[in-house]
Amino acid sequence: MNQELFLLAVLDGISYAALLFLVALGMTLVFGVMRILNMAHGSLYAFGGYFAATLGLWAVSKGLSPAWSFLWLVLAALVIGALLGTVMEVLLLRRIYHKEQILQLLVTFAAFMIFEDLQRMIWGAQPYFVSDIVNYLGVAEVLGITYTRYQLMVLPGVALVVFVGLRWFLKSSRTGRQIVAVAHNREVATAMGIDAKRICLLTFVAGSMLGALGGALASPTTSLVPGIGAEMIVLSFAVVATAGLGQIEGTLVTALLIGLARSFAVYLQPEMEVLVPYLIMVAVLLFRPQGLFSVAQARRV
């Protein structure tokens, strides 16, 4: 493998990691605050994608410029995240925060199945694809290889903005600090006057929006098909588990690690491509069961 191919593999890895990061980030944020592993997170990815495609198709039929697509992509994520996130938190999760983890998993998995059917009822079984934005932005040549500007710039750019924005939000804003407090210890935070119920709702909606944003941003490059949510949930779970549940910086590093490992596998050992994320996960969890970036936790009781 020469230097050029090395660079190409890095570029491919980064754009893939960007999407993975956005989806895994939503999942880990929700877990960090509510200690719930939301299996329905993949549905938010799927719904975000489908809804963005629907808006995109509508815009095309109205003859709007593809430049507007940026608006549709973000709008779709916000609407789906707010809508489904609120419905799920208020109707489902609120009732199971104190239940056993296995029950939480089952309940969110049930929600996932329901969403999956709902998605098929609304959008049917045929693949959806709206790629006007990608064609509009055009392509760029790197070392004689053609890349789309969308994957080269937009995806990593958005991921970076979201990462920096979220870190700033959690560290510096009032609500952000409340979220961190609830994540740290819900009871103490409540005792200090934080409305934990509101924080949980807010976090869940934000996490859902991130999942939906991942789907919306993926929609111009991929076909939306039934089952796309399930694909994503498995991979983002691998990222989240490798990083350590609830670790935001760790999720970024792990998503990059897995994205790069995967693209290097395609160049060097294509047979390993599918396996690589899980090999990394197993290798990490064997030695650090709490994940790469989790710090040892003090016993609460």
Partner: protein, 436 residues
């Protein structure tokens, strides 16, 4: 004397027995229940859902005309998307509890491999209606399992032939197939055939991205660096659409000869994304603009009706469904005739299916004694026209099934190694002039 009497009595008894057997009339049922396994969930529902719509459309018509010999046919659909074990128990439930005598299964080769031995045990006629695996009928001889369409061998050999006849001058090839049984097996058949007919060709990359992969950008970068002359993909559904779109967005599709043996099912969805000159297969000889049969009332009428109902042109899984149902009706007709007008037992029906000749929407299909269907293969090259918002197939060639299938009793992997270069000039190949 005494002996003669006994022998006479025995003869009489025997002939009475034989007679009662021969004229043994199955009571004509009030309705014929059939089970159909198809994907209504998961990625393969791109095939399953249109095929289910086709079955409903077909049976509605059939029943309006009085069904099979006056017996109405009612379907029970089973979702293949639930996976192996669940599918198996659903299959058993439908057969044993609802007393279904005829099953149509399945789309997935994995499902077909699982269900075929079970059908044999349950003594229920199973029509393999869409799956491609050649192994299922090569590894075991079944009494109750038949296939109403071609298998992967015919499809892949025909694809190699079309490529070599249309674009013989290439030196390198790369493959991008889905990482599951079909992706692997189809490449094995394709590459073995190619090696025999064009030994100097070099395989520069064998990529098997995950089944259901949503992103091929790394594969595409690598292919751009390798610059193969030909890129083969036997993928289908969302995977194929995504691969083609991403290849088109990044210009790969213009720099290599794409060969997509299953892409007839994606033509309409991909719209103008596919450029001219891409080689497309149809998994059979069915195509709504079939060069000989496009004005045939049966094909044309069905295409119009299907389009009015679903808004889309039929794809190969739809044709395969109709073919299986037409085959079943023809099988019943043959069995009833053989049974002197009486309703046949499942055993008699299964026997009638072997050696059956029938017509679906396109050319006649013959079912061999091993249960394998002989179905011609149609391939073409994309070309944009003003008449449709997606490319049509140009330079169509049709390959008769007989020249591209392992003989009864021989395994395909062995047979493809015996293919001779003369096959490229086989006079049975039908060619058609370019579309104006």
């Amino acid at each position: 004397m005494f002996n003669k009497k006994i022998i006479g009595a025995m003869l009489a008894a025997a002939s009475a027995f034989a007679f009662s057997q021969g004229a043994f009339a199955q009571a004509k049922p009030a309705e014929l229940k059939i089970g159909i396994t198809t994907f209504t969930s998961g990625p393969a529902s791109v095939f399953g859902v249109p095929a289910k719509q086709a079955a409903e459309l077909y049976l509605e018509d059939l029943n309006a005309k009085g069904g099979i010999n006056g017996v109405k046919v009612t379907p029970t659909f089973i979702d293949e998307g639930v996976g192996g074990d669940k599918l198996l128990s659903e299959y058993r439930r439908v057969v044993q509890e609802q007393n279904v005598k005829v099953m149509l299964g399945s789309i997935s080769s994995g499902s077909c491999n699982t269900l075929a031995p079970v059908a044999e045990d349950l003594k229920v006629l199973n029509i393999l209606w869409d799956c491609g695996t050649e192994k299922v009928l090569e590894e075991r001889r079944y009494k109750y399992v038949v296939r109403t369409q071609a298998n992967a061998t015919t499809e892949m050999v025909a694809s190699v032939l079309y490529l070599l006849r249309q674009k013989p001058n290439f030196k390198t090839i790369a493959v991008v197939n889905q990482d599951y049984a079909w992706g692997r097996d189809s490449w094995e058949l394709f590459s073995q055939t190619l090696k025999i007919l064009k030994p100097d060709v070099k395989v520069v990359a064998e990529l098997f991205p995950k089944f259901g992969a949503s992103d091929f950008s790394t594969e595409i970068s690598r292919l751009q660096a390798l610059r193969p002359d030909v890129i083969l993909s036997t993928s289908w559904g969302g995977d194929l659409d995504t691969f083609v779109r991403q290849s088109a967005q990044r210009g790969l599709i213009k720099n290599a000869q794409f060969v997509l043996p299953l892409a007839e099912s994606s033509l309409e969805r991909l719209g103008t994304t596919l450029p001219d000159g891409v080689i497309i297969g149809a998994r059979g000889d069915h195509y709504f603009l079939h060069p000989v049969l496009k004005d045939d009332p049966k094909l044309k009428g069905f295409v119009e009706k299907f389009k009015a109902k679903t808004g889309a042109y039929p794809i190969y899984s739809v044709y395969h469904m109709i073919q299986a149902l037409d085959g079943l009706v023809a099988g019943y007709d043959k069995a009833i005739k053989a049974n002197k007008g009486q309703w046949p037992s499942t055993e008699q029906l299964a026997e009638a299916m072997h050696g059956l000749k029938f017509r679906g929407l396109t050319d006649e299909v013959k079912i061999r004694e091993d249960g394998q269907g002989l179905e011609d293969q149609l391939l073409g090259t994309t070309r944009k026209t003003a008449a449709y918002p997606f490319p049509i197939l140009d330079k169509i060639e049709i390959y008769p099934a007989e020249m591209a299938i392992a003989p009864v009793g021989q395994k395909s992997v062995d047979w493809v190694k015996t293919i001779k270069p003369e096959i490229l000039k086989d006079p049975r190949i039908k060619t058609f002039p370019p579309v104006n």
